[in-house]
Point group: C2
Chain length 214, copies 2
């Protein structure tokens, strides 16, 4: 499999394939045809063939894809054959929700610390029993601990203040839930979840009868 030849559009579709292949694996399904997968995923069979042929893992016509092989290969591309340490900055409800998702831990993302700037929260425990640290200690924490990913679940101003500290602290990726873009060095990966923008997309679709996901 030649990773460089895989386009960004295909990469963006891989997590959804990974999810469906995971369901098939749980169901102990060994092989699946592009036709079956097409019906499950509501994507054309030719799209599936185009996307998955990057990974091989298929035999002759009519044999179908090897579910476990494809699941493993797609997981490797997505970096899920590794584990990641993750800190959460912002111990409000969203931050604590994320800290508690067992699914993320199963995927290899281990929450190692939770920070907040609110004196009423600092020193208290999250619902998962982690002591909430002061964001003032973040730079020290990053000097002493390897952190792969920081999830930013705090308001805009806080996120903007914290971003350069994360950059200095050699965090590799930022999962940004704050209502702002971040100005960061090119070396740091950023993935944003802008909830209000997602809600606007929905209100657009509601008014224009777009039922499709994209």
């Amino acid at each position: 499999m030649d990773e460089k030849s895989i386009s960004r559009a295909v990469i963006n579709r891989l997590p959804r394939y990974y999810r469906y292949l995971g369901i098939l694996l749980q169901d102990k399904k060994e092989r699946i045809s592009s036709g079956e997968l097409s019906r499950m995923m509501n994507v054309t069979a030719s799209q599936i063939r185009q996307d998955l042929n990057h990974f091989g893992g298929f035999g002759q016509q009519g044999y179908g894809y090897n579910v476990e092989y494809l699941h493993t290969e797609i997981g490797k591309i997505l970096g899920l054959d590794q584990t990641y340490t993750m800190i959460i900055i912002g111990a409000g409800r969203l931050g604590q929700a994320i800290a508690g998702y067992v699914r993320f831990e199963k995927l290899g993302f281990q929450v190692t610390a939770v920070f907040d700037s609110n004196p009423d929260l600092i020193g208290r425990e999250t619902v998962h029993g982690m002591v909430i640290r002061s964001v003032d200690t973040l730079a020290d924490y990053l000097r002493e601990n390897h952190v792969d990913i920081a999830a930013l679940t705090l308001p805009t101003e806080g996120a903007l203040q914290v971003a350069p500290i994360l950059a200095d602290g050699k965090v590799r990726g930022i999962w940004n839930f704050a209502h702002t873009d971040l100005d960061l060095p090119e070396s740091i990966a950023v993935q944003s979840v802008h909830l209000s923008e997602s809600l606007m997309q929905l209100s657009y679709k509601v008014n224009h009868n777009h039922s499709a996901e994209n």
Copy 2:
């Protein structure tokens, strides 16, 4: 402005323009050039001109865009000139976080009810003082109340059970946070926020030095 001519790709970018124009409005900026907006948004000026020329609202070369006019027009396209009633199904931390975002209310999305299936939560109040209703009363609620949008902040099985009830109840749009796709009539708009898929996109970028957002 001919709405039909606006491509889906442009529509997907509109919420971000709306956000930046909102910041400019707050700063009492009346006009902005594509060059200035380009630097703010980190998008090429020619992309901005192409996107925003769908909306008019610009004078002669060198005058720039009328911020308020553009903000209003983009808001209309996104359906933000209307208000929406929203119910939340799943009163866990994520559901309660969403119920509490003042920003969504300012955009016109008003949370009118919160549901859960957990007997320990039903009848208790959310942090925002709404009594959590039993999901068993959802069908009745939908018969008696107009609901535009339902946010699904509950696990997969619950989301799959609730989806047909929402369809029967004439909900117009579903904001889906559950870890599954939903099988719904074409007439219902769906916008999904798949958090684990977002995290996988981030781990991909972390491993491949993709700092860009897309």
